[in-house]
């Protein structure tokens, strides 16, 4: 499980530590694969959830199965590995959008399967709503963006990818990525100003 002194799912490696863990994972060490999973699984799940993937837990497992299947092909730094993982995660999002476009999903009533709180248990629903309030607001605001703007914003924010890495993950030119992030922030600012929400 995640280290108690660090935010869960946000383990940061030192360059030496990452190289050692990566090498061990490529050599077949289970503990090293677990370290890599623990370091990025939370971010990947958050990215998938922000992109509207309801079964984000299974989708996260699928992403890491794909990562480990191609692990032997990777070599680089931790930042590059992060880009490698979120590139696979983005493809999973694209697949999810295609499937959802062909077959609209019915939002589950259970709060565990989505952000919608259950109405059968008022206490749990209220708690779930409070717990998901920030998440719901985030999802609502992100829903105001176009898919491309949302992709750029989530990858830059949740994955901590640079403009170059985001462009590579999305298969777009860097100029297009910059333009998209400009428009995304401008739209958010307009929406937030309209709502009058401030901290």
């Amino acid at each position: 499980m995640a280290n108690a002194t660090e935010p869960a799912g946000n383990e940061r490696f030192t360059p030496e530590t990452f190289d050692a863990v990566l090498s061990a994972a490529q050599a077949g060490a289970g503990w090293a694969a677990s370290r890599l999973y623990q370091a990025l699984a939370g971010r990947v799940a958050g990215y998938l959830r922000a992109q509207g993937v309801t079964d984000f837990e299974d989708a996260t497992s699928d992403v890491f199965l794909g990562v480990f299947a191609r692990l032997h092909t990777f070599s680089g730094t931790e930042a590059q590995f992060r880009s490698f993982v979120f590139t696979i995660a983005h493809r999973r999002v694209v697949d999810h959008r295609r499937i959802r476009a062909r077959r609209p999903e019915v939002a589950p009533l259970d709060a565990a399967g989505g952000d919608e709180p259950s109405t059968r248990d008022a206490t749990s629903a209220e708690n779930a709503a409070l717990a998901n309030l920030g998440t719901e607001r985030i999802r609502r605001l992100l829903g105001e963006l176009t898919p491309d703007q949302r992709d750029v914003l989530t990858l830059r924010i949740l994955a901590d990818l640079s403009v170059e890495q985001t462009a590579a993950a999305l298969g777009k030119p860097q100029g297009a990525v910059k333009a998209l992030q400009h428009r995304a922030l401008a739209a958010l600012r307009k929406q937030l100003t309209r709502e009058g929400v401030s901290r």
Partner: protein, 338 residues
Amino acid sequence: MNVSDDYEDEMRTPRPLDDTTVELILTGQRVGDDDLSAVAAFVADLRSAAASPPPRPSAALAAVLAQGVATTDHGGVAPTSASQAARPGQRRSSWAGRRPRLMPRLLSALTVPLGTAGFGAKAAFGFSLAAASVTAAGAAGVLPDPLQHTVAGVVRAVSPFEIPDPADHRRDVGHRLDPDSGDDAGSESPLTIDETVPPADEHQGEPGRQPPDSHAPIDTSSPRLDETDRAPADGSVPTTVQPRPAPADQDPRADAPTGAPGEAPADQPRDTPTTEPGSAPAPGGVPTSQPEHTPSPSGDLPAGAPEEGSGGGSETPPTTQPATTSTTRPAGIPSGRR
């Protein structure tokens, strides 16, 4: 009251989003502006939402995390679709126990080019395989006689090598008569071999002489016939043929007198037949030419004669002609030896 301040508040324009400001917001740094601070706050909330504990891995992923990544696996698991997310039990586990499949990949690597080749290339490839198979079988001497003879001729023509040729064997076999074998082989009978059998001393030791046509009738009326070579009274037919230069691998039974396989006449000079360059001994060690020998119980083998049972071993011993046909036999053909 400062009028200018009111106007300034109303006329405040949003700070433009330049690249620097964008980078400050996206990286979670303070921007200092009210509306942009709201955006910055949103970005912080979004980043916090992502900092959640890792979700529970699926069964397949749990196996990978427990056993480690397969170092020989270069395939990868196709991610399940969203519709299958509710059925983790059906998730494929391609990691546990996977082994490299080199043979299929090798076969696919070999067959893919063939599969993409044109018809001519495929036909040529198939023909080459067939030709190689036939040649290999011919070298082993396991083809039917007509085909074996054809293949032997082709190989002899295109290469310095020799492979067993049943025609050669029949030529050699024709000089051996075995009364006990069932091989009466019609035209292959030694008695029907048309051999211009030279005198006994004419071709002794003569190297490289080719055997005459195995199917030519034998002139038994030749004055070269030796009385001692005529069929004995018991009906056994001598198998010794009139002298011809015998190769080094001649079968001693061809020289053997009455009923003694492998024996050579003692009173006949031993030839040291030489094998013609490039020619291979016939299977079974049947000599292509025979020195003139008279039967001898000594059992001595002529020099250069192959051991019994040598060679291809696939040839049956020659048949022994009945006594009634002895008059048509060439001189010096002894009776059967068995």
